[in-house]
Amino acid sequence: MVDKKYLLTTAKMAEFVARGFLRFDELVPDEINRAVMVAFDTGGIEAAPAGTPLSHCYPEPSPIGAILRMPEIQGIIHSLVGPDPLFDHHAIHVRQPREGNAQGMHGDSIIDTRMHFDIQLMYFPHEVPLEMGGTLLVPGSQYRRINEMDIARYQNFAGQIPMVCKAGSLLALHHGVWHCGRQNNTDRKRYMYKIRLNPVVRQYRLWNTDDLAAMNGGPKRIFTREHNAVADVQTILSRGEAWYEDGGGRLEIINRVKMWRFLTGDESFDVHYWLTRLENMPEVRLAA
């Protein structure tokens, strides 16, 4: 059982629902980072068959196993997909020195219409400066229904995030987040390890929900400064991304509200009255 202190807070969970990722800088100790680099350079890391419980993967001694068994990372995994999820696959992504092109923008796997979601952990075992590229993320793209490389035409978005980080940093991603490997303009190889995990329990209040009621907030005065004055769940879910279209950005808030309701079971939760307004279809007839 994961100690509650390692579980995500409600604010962090809301950030994940809004932006589709969480970032943890310099989380993995340097000694493990160095051991992972040695393993990458000397034959790689053996994968388990798809559908294997994560607890059966990477038996000791394994530097990747050591990372995944860190209580901090167990807490992240538990909060997002629950205890002992299934290993889907892993990949060691390598960007060669002075590559001319970046990877095309894409979403992983195929179009996926579930509310239930997988996570992908991306681990960066060495420092990644901007000229080395880093994985590029499009924040808040996880609910867009597209199929894999259909979006390869998109080269740049306002507010895109190149993963520039120190060694030992980690991203936890919703499976739908648009991303690509940026080109590497250094003389060194760039490595990134990615693992996809499938939940085996209903994704319902898996994080530290001690502050959930207080963080949800109640109805607010919309179209006023008061609406986003407090950094509660409603405020976090209402923050737009720089690349959102005017109208599409409002629909993304609806997507987030639906996901928050799915994760909390609170069918009355709303942001800015967007969904409540649409759900108001009175059938009570006045007496003639």
């Binding site: 229904r145 597209i146 035409r153 998109y154 080109q183 599409g248 609806i254």
Partner: protein
């Protein structure tokens, strides 16, 4: 003798107005002078589609405004407001 080559600029705008804000951008350079790729710039080349016109780009495609398919009114997917521009530039033949 010089020959003409096409440069293509795709701008993804905030709404259907050509003078609305640029949210995403893509370049393809048929002159071979520049090689653009994914994630190669963090600032849009123009702040709006109109500003691209003012710099000599010609619009060759306006996005169609289609009503959403029934049942998909709240579904988000591709960028809707995709404007395609071109410039013709001479290269030495």
């Amino acid at each position: 003798m010089s020959q003409l080559r096409q440069k293509v600029l795709i701008l993804y705008l905030a709404n259907s107005a050509l003078d609305s804000e640029v949210k995403g951008w893509t370049h393809y350079d048929g002159t071979g002078r520049a090689a653009h790729t994914t994630g190669d710039s963090d600032r849009p080349p123009y702040s709006s589609g109109l500003n691209a016109l003012l710099d000599g780009w010609r619009v060759i495609q306006f996005p169609q405004l289609n009503p959403p398919y029934p049942g998909l009114e709240y579904t988000t997917s591709f960028q809707i407001y995709e404007y395609i521009f071109e410039k013709l530039e001479a290269i030495d033949g």
